[in-house]
């Protein structure tokens, strides 16, 4: 495995990110447990987790890159490909589907003129569908980055997209 890639992109945690990681080291009896938190920090700071970013995390934690890669690709919240500034995640599991999640997806596709899985040309929005987010009583719902938006209607979506622009 070559380190040259790292230099190419110059990935490195910010001082604050590195401190957070160091702080967390005290919380676990084994530093292996830091892999998920470290990937979160990497994703926050680098935008998404490409192979160089994964190599960087492997180097920082001194674990094999294969392990880092295996973990990063296992969990859906780690993005190995770039996404738009706002990641729109519509729940389409049963309770949401019963109350029109499919319609919400279609409405967003039309409004953003992209399909599920795509990013708008201005890189502002990526639209994906996800499994149950624990908001089934306030369905239909979506999550945009970290924020939950519940009881969605077309009007509500218009308002949210306007606000996010």
């Amino acid at each position: 495995m070559s380190d040259t890639n790292i230099e190419k992109k110059g990935y490195a945690f910010s001082k604050e990110g590195m401190n957070r990681l160091k702080e967390m080291m005290k919380d676990y009896p084994s530093s292996d447990a830091l892999l998920l938190p470290a990937l979160y920090i990497a994703q926050e700071e680098f935008g998404h987790l490409d192979t160089e970013a994964l190599q960087y995390v492997a180097d920082v934690l001194k674990v094999p890159k294969s392990k880092v890669y295996g973990v990063a690709t296992y969990y859906t919240m780690y993005k190995t490909k770039p996404t738009g500034k706002h990641l729109i995640q519509v729940c389409t599991n049963l309770s949401c589907s019963l109350l029109g999640a499919d319609h919400i997806v279609k409405y967003l596709e039309n409004k953003l003129t992209i399909k599920v899985g795509e990013t708008t040309p201005d890189k502002k929005f990526t639209l994906i569908t996800v499994e149950c987010l624990g908001s089934c009583g306030t369905a239909p719902m979506m999550q945009v980055n970290d924020t939950y938006y519940e009881n969605l209607t077309e009007k509500e979506i218009d308002r949210i997209l306007e606000e996010l622009k």
Binding site: Y75, L94, G100, E131, G134, C136, G137, A139
Partner: protein
């Protein structure tokens, strides 16, 4: 320092929880309900004091055993028994893990506790840690609950400041730490051994049991894993005694219970009631009946992995034994209600897509079986199924049942088996008449 409140929740329906029993949800409508001062004013952390000053760890285990509390995460294992097993293991340090992964579709009952009353959970965790002699607890919270994780972190910091966490808690020889650990989007990590793997920084794939986590858990140490709602009960049991707890609901599984109601009801939401509340009341009395004056077609009583019930079967009390007697399971108590516009083949297909997506891939019956079932269901909802497909699916389910490492595989077959059992006519119409029996499309794939 981690920025607080990065995640937010926005909802136009602030009343997605209904406090009708006044125990687990009693604090949530208070202003600043997440603040430790509010909690203290309401008598908070009194039961921690009582436990540490009046009881030995063994006393606490005995009290919880006597209360009859059973786990609220789905399996219903007696909490006191689990603690006893772990406490009996001389290997140290021991660990407590709070399962806040809440991923079972239909379930959102732990969320109000986490987001609105974190100290109730934290107090329960500290008492539980004392009982089993744990050195620390990790709250494993699903990554999407970023807001909840921030609320918990802030509350934990407050509890440290007040001396309820850390070294020599309340002047006793009891040191205990509490951390929040975020998952990253994998339903199976709610399964206790997968959760352990994930916390250890690996792909969250289930371990085969035995050995059980009470003996060989996280970092190979004795480990107790309890659900958020289970742990939220503890301070109340210590405060009011086991006999008080047993006055609520059936003898075999007493106590308060939060039911998450969703789907085609007029008033979906989290309802705190007692164990054994009739399912019919949840749908009609509390949930306000079926939307748009339609008729009820089917109910899933305990989250996506529990078998579907027909309207004729809803005269049942929501406790483990009673729901089991009608062929389903209490699970997490997440009631998903479907009206007459719903195609049950579509429901089975949608849920199997979920299980196929979430299968960790460690054992082949679940990894392959879930995908085969999706392919067959895909073809049936597209009106391209064959009559043999029904037997083929039953055969696949048979080859999964009891033959998988973890219960995900067993749960995955339930939507298929129960819809074939109760709604076979709908499969037949899709296959023989090549049309959807209801024709009302909730989505492109009949759902």
């Amino acid at each position: 320092m981690v920025a607080l409140y990065q995640g937010r929740r926005r909802s136009r329906a602030p009343t997605w929880y209904f406090n009708m029993n006044n125990i687990l949800l009693k604090n949530i409508n208070k202003p600043n309900s997440t603040d430790i001062e509010t909690y203290l004013k309401g008598g908070g952390y009194k039961s921690l004091e009582k436990a540490l000053k009046e009881y030995t760890p063994k006393d606490v285990i005995d009290i919880v055993q006597k209360s009859g509390l059973r786990g609220r995460g789905g399996a219903g294992f007696p909490t006191g028994k689990k603690w006893e097993f772990a406490a009996a293991d001389k290997n140290t340090p021991r660990y407590l893990l709070c399962n806040a992964d809440e991923g079972e579709p239909g379930t959102y009952k732990d969320r109000p506790i986490i987001e609105k009353d974190p100290h109730q959970l934290i107090e329960g965790i500290i008492i539980s840690g004392y009982a089993i002699g744990a050195a620390a607890c990790y709250i494993y919270i699903r990554g999407e609950y970023a807001y909840g994780a921030d609320v918990l972190r802030r509350a934990i910091a407050q509890a440290y400041k007040k001396g309820f966490l850390g070294k020599k808690i309340l002047g006793k020889k009891f040191d205990f730490d509490l951390y929040v650990h975020k998952g990253a989007g994998a339903y199976v990590c709610g399964e206790e051994t997968a959760l352990i793997e994930s916390l250890e920084g690996k792909r969250g794939q289930s371990r085969i049991k035995p050995p059980f986590p009470v003996n060989v858990g996280v970092w190979n140490k004795p480990t107790v894993i309890n659900n958020v709602e289970t742990l939220a009960n503890i301070s109340h049991i210590i405060n009011n005694g086991p006999d008080w707890f047993k006055t609520m609901g059936p003898e075999k599984c007493p106590g308060p219970k939060i039911y998450s109601i969703s789907g085609h009801v007029n008033k979906p939401g989290n309802y705190e009631l007692i164990m054994g509340t009739p399912l019919k009341d949840l749908i009609y009395k509390y949930g306000g009946g079926i939307r748009n004056g339609r008729n009820l077609k089917a109910v899933i009583p305990g989250g996506a992995s529990t078998p579907v019930l027909k309207p004729e079967q809803i005269d049942v009390n929501m406790d483990y034994e009673s729901v089991g007697a009608v062929g389903s399971m209490l699970g997490s108590g997440a009631v998903m209600v479907m009206d007459e516009t719903v195609c049950m083949v579509g429901v089975a297909r949608r849920l199997l897509k979920f299980f196929a997506h979430e299968s960790c891939g460690k054992c082949s019956p679940c990894r392959e079986g879930t995908h085969w079932l999706v392919q067959i269901l895909d073809r049936i909802v597209s009106n391209e199924g064959k009559i043999e497909d029904i037997d083929l699916m039953l055969d696949i389910c048979d080859n999964m049942r009891g033959k998988t490492f973890c219960p995900l595989g067993d749960g995955a077959i339930n939507p298929v088996l129960s819809t074939i059992k109760h709604f076979k006519d709908e499969y037949l119409i899709h296959i023989e008449e090549k049309r959807c029996p209801v024709g009302y499309r909730h989505s492109e794939h009949c759902l």
